[in-house]
Amino acid sequence: MLEGYPKEIMSKDGTPILLRPLALEDEQRLSEFFARIPEDERWFLRDNVADPAVMHLWIKNVDYDRILPLVAVRQEDNTIIANVRLHRRPSECLHHIAHLRIMVDPAYRHQRLGTWMLLDTIRLAMSVGIEKLVAEFIVGVEDAAMNAAHKLDFFEEAVLKDYVKDRQGRYRDLIIMVKTLHRDWSDF
């Protein structure tokens, strides 16, 4: 399932980067990565990843049948600079669907890194038989990621108005985007 990794990519500025599955020994590196994500963005994560105990438990208990976590690391020193997770539901009726969540280190944004990770996730999803990919984005916070997803044919399926609250207590819209992984060409 996760064969073929690591995969070499290059950021827009020519930095050599590797995409690979998250490993147990990445715990410290992943903590450092999340520490570099602005608090205003970390706020929207479901787990408190800033807490080392939470991180330890999370990474130790990753169930690869349900979550496929990938990271982008700088080739020169293995620093994690982006993270994407593909979540699958165990129930048969939802097994063809996966949810993805992506985060990129602020210092590496606008370098096409997120786009490469999205593309890699799409190919990974394809290889494990996923038919639909779902991504949620918070308007005004994750606009760049939303734009990248749109360019990879994710389409807006729903807007949950005033659905989440930011750190300042303001309501924000949550956009649900879906990409269908087509199984063949149309006959048109």
């Binding site: 995969k7 290059m10 050599p16 799409i122 394809m126 199984r183 060409w185 006959d187």
Partner: protein, 221 residues
């Protein structure tokens, strides 16, 4: 070096030809057919135009052209000595293609096909294996573009994801691996795939240039 079969002429590498026994009869694989080898041959009816699929090569003259070009290679799988049931054609990339920027380092496995009537009997596997046995490939980065618009989904009964997997599996067994690239034709569809095999004598510096070129960076010599 050429000799006459009962129906046509096959030349040069006959000595390296291999006969494989399949449930569909004996098939002889010729790893390198030189110019002048193709008269008297015919394409099996499973190679051609179908409702959702057209073969990349549909005329024997194309084989002649490939075999006549510098370092061009054509491997053929023949049934009953003159019926082409599979082919693999290789060439240097065209000057207009990105990969030509590395001169003769890059070498394209340009077209591989097995007739719809002779699939699943390891013909492609054998053609690739025999062609790669040539020491020539140890100085090259052999690559193959997998463009989904060329895939015979109807004939294979596979969907795009399955076809992609099948192609990866086929080539991985011969030392190829998937490489990411922003080459526009590959990038056009997410199911497209670019696979390459780096020859054992390709230097670290050449590999670095290949890596850069995959992302559109052209190094000077």
């Amino acid at each position: 070096m050429s000799h006459e079969t009962s129906q046509g002429t096959i030349s040069a590498s006959d000595l390296n030809a291999e006969l494989i026994e399949t449930p569909k009869g004996s098939i002889k694989i010729y790893p390198r057919c030189g110019p002048g080898s193709f008269s008297g041959l015919k394409l099996d009816v499973g190679i051609g135009n179908f409702s959702h699929y057209s073969s990349i090569i549909q005329k024997l003259e194309v084989f002649e052209k490939v075999a006549s070009a510098k370092d061009g290679r054509v491997a053929l799988a023949l049934k009953e000595e003159n019926s082409v049931v599979g082919y693999l054609a290789c060439w240097y990339p065209d000057g207009a293609e990105r990969w030509s920027k590395l001169g003769e380092l890059m070498y394209e496995m340009g077209a591989v096909e097995v007739s719809r009537n002779f699939r699943h009997v390891n013909v492609a596997q054998k053609m690739i294996s025999l062609i790669l046995a040539d020491d020539f490939f140890e100085d090259k980065i052999a690559y193959m573009n997998g463009f989904s618009w060329h895939w015979d989904l109807d004939g294979s009964g596979l969907n795009m994801a399955e076809y992609r997997k099948m192609m990866m599996h086929l080539l991985k067994g011969h030392g190829f691996q998937e490489y990411y690239t922003n080459e526009p034709n590959i990038a056009l569809r997410e199911e497209n795939i670019f696979m390459a095999r780096i020859g054992s004598r390709v230097s670290a510096e050449q590999q670095q240039r290949f890596r850069n070129l995959r992302f559109g960076i052209v190094d000077r010599d």
